[in-house]
Amino acid sequence: MSVDENMVRRIANLARIGVTNGELPALAKELSAIIGFVEQLSELDTDGVKPLTSAVEDRIRGREDVVTDGGYAEDVLANAPEKDDEYFAVPKVVE
């Protein structure tokens, strides 16, 4: 299946990566080639095969309900490109 420019635009929007109209043709071509490559998986019959998400077979391990973290707002905000006192600042969001 090939990936056309409309699809590229859709995907880029979902991924929040700005693409200019000029970039669309090359991207469509590259992505189509990659999708074409990975599509060979459809040759395999995988009926009834359980997907393998993780190589780790253990049970999930948990932690206790104790406060062990947080309380360092300075560190959390230290790398912020823009901030206002104790908040991260971003362009206004309209709901």
């Binding site: 999930i60 309900d65 973290d69 707002a73 362009p91 969001v93």
Partner: protein, 491 residues
């Protein structure tokens, strides 16, 4: 199918409202779902944020097992199926208060499956509302949009807090039913202690799905009203939205599937600005976690530890205390209230205690904006007062005065009713001779009224009133009544 009495009328006939609720309940845990930061309300911005919550590079989630227990506990309280194997999925979307760019949630395999709760309707009937599922997920942070002309501010304290999302079946048909559902759900959560149900602070909020249809038709397109955080607003939002949809359709339009917000100031809902593709969340199992699994023993241990829930308590109040379903329902609304009642009712006439608790205690607390925990009048004192009425030490009317004094004086004074009655001289006069003397006095002073009473027996009440006044309200009304009737020859 039962006839729906909740139809609203439009220009083209009657319409049925179909409602489903997704309630987000914050787990009453100290730390967050996947990080060790604190969850307390009202902290300084970004002071309860770990590196994991801030989604710093290389950070990883580790599950807080307590939250898992609370979810199982809640599921059992909802009489729901517990899934010993469930999966955490990533729900991917972009928003500044969602630092990871995805929310860890559960999609196809939630921790709890189908259940049900019963709601109490106004006419005393009971209706079962189905629960589709309950799953665990992370809360997002908070964005402030009104602090600055062109910037929004983000506080991540809430980011990563554990939520239980409880999804109902679309079984509700009116705002009242929806409100009853949330009230009941909240009560169950508070009884279990798995969520404090504080809607003002946001630990319980509802997304309300509203659609309308002509009775018998297919389901209409629904709109979702997000994050409604009071029972009152839920009612208002539903009424507005249902009317909006009916008017829209009757004007020839179609309802678009939308996410909407309720504005308490205007009482209206408005569409959120939506982007195309907004709903392709690309769920997939979170590869930083493993499937959530626990044994049946784990579930059984939790089941052993469940408290008596509202429905069971209500049934017991009706059976054991002989209360009316209505009174029992009011008392079990909060576990603390029910406990107060039971303490007060020990060794006393339960119905009389219920009346005083509901009539005087709750009324007084509402007026003074206090919780039962801060009640100036203790359960023991209520019980004592009821007993003092029962043994005729004080009349019902005087008892009201005693109650008010106890309430005003508060727990500091700590005076028990018997003491107050003594101090204020409110003891009921039961001495027949004294009452007889008072009756005689009134009769002697009002011969014309005596004659009228013989014509109109109802005038006896005037005499009773006069005697009560003359005795400062302290005479036993039943005794006064009996003697008046006797002396007037109206027996």
């Amino acid at each position: 199918m039962a006839e729906n009495k909740n139809l609203i009328s439009g220009a083209t006939g009657d319409w049925e409202i179909v409602l489903g609720l997704e309630v987000h309940a914050q787990v009453a845990s100290k730390a967050k779902l996947f990080s060790g930061a604190a969850t307390e309300f009202g902290a300084e911005p970004n002071s309860q944020v770990s590196l994991v919550d801030a989604a710093m590079p290389g950070m990883l989630p580790v599950i807080n097992w307590f939250c898992v227990e609370q979810a199982v506990r809640t599921g059992l309280g909802l009489k729901a199926q517990i899934n010993n194997h469930s999966v955490f999925d990533r729900k991917n979307y972009f928003y500044p208060d969602l630092p990871q760019g995805y929310q860890i949630s559960q999609f196809q395999q939630p921790i709890v499956g189908e259940g049900a709760i019963e709601i109490d309707l106004a006419d005393g009937a009971v209706k079962e509302i189905g629960i589709e599922r309950l799953h665990l997920e992370q809360d997002a942070g908070k964005s402030l949009h009104d602090q600055h002309p062109n910037m929004s501010f983000v506080d991540l304290n809430r980011s990563g807090v554990a939520l239980m999302e409880i999804v109902s079946n679309p079984d509700m048909r009116s705002a009242a039913e929806a409100q009853a559902y949330v009230k009941k759900l909240r009560a169950i959560l508070r009884y279990l202690g798995t969520c404090d149900g504080n809607m003002e602070q946001g630990s319980l909020r509802a997304d309300v799905n509203v659609s309308v249809r002509k009775p018998g038709d297919e389901l209409g397109t629904r709109c979702e009203i997000k994050n409604v955080n009071s029972i009152r607003f839920i009612g208002q939002a539903i009424e507005y939205e249902a009317r909006r949809q009916v008017d829209l359709i009757e004007d020839g339009g179609t309802v678009e599937q939308q996410t909407r917000l309720f504005d308490p100031k205007t009482g209206e809902t408005r569409a959120m600005r939506s982007k195309e593709e907004a709903h392709d969340y690309r769920y997939f199992p979170d590869p930083d976690l493993l499937p959530l699994e626990f044994s049946q023993e784990f579930v059984d241990e939790i089941a052993k530890d469940l408290p008596e829930l509202p429905d069971e308590k209500k049934a017991r109040f009706i059976n054991d205390y002989g209360l009316t379903p209505y009174d029992a329902g009011v008392l079990v609304g909060e576990a603390e209230n029910a406990a107060f009642f039971e303490a007060a009712a020990e060794g006393q006439d339960a119905k009389a205690v219920a009346n005083m608790v509901i009539g005087s205690v709750f009324a007084g607390l509402n007026k003074a904006d206090l919780d039962i925990a801060d009640s100036p009048v203790s359960a023991a004192q209520v019980g004592q007062l009821v007993g003092l009425i029962a043994d005729d030490t004080v009349s019902g009317r005087s008892a009201k005065e005693v109650f008010e004094l106890m309430f005003e004086d508060g727990p500091d004074q700590g005076k028990n009713p018997a003491v107050i009655i003594e101090e204020k001289g409110l003891k009921q006069v039961t001495d027949t001779a004294a009452i007889e003397a008072a009756v005689d006095e009134v009769i002697d002073a009002n011969p014309d009224k005596v004659a009228q009473a013989k014509e109109r027996p109802k005038m006896a009440g005037w005499f009773v009133g006069q005697v009560m006044q003359a005795t400062g309200g302290k005479a036993n009304p039943q005794a006064v009544n009996k003697l008046v009737m006797l002396k007037l020859g109206l027996e």
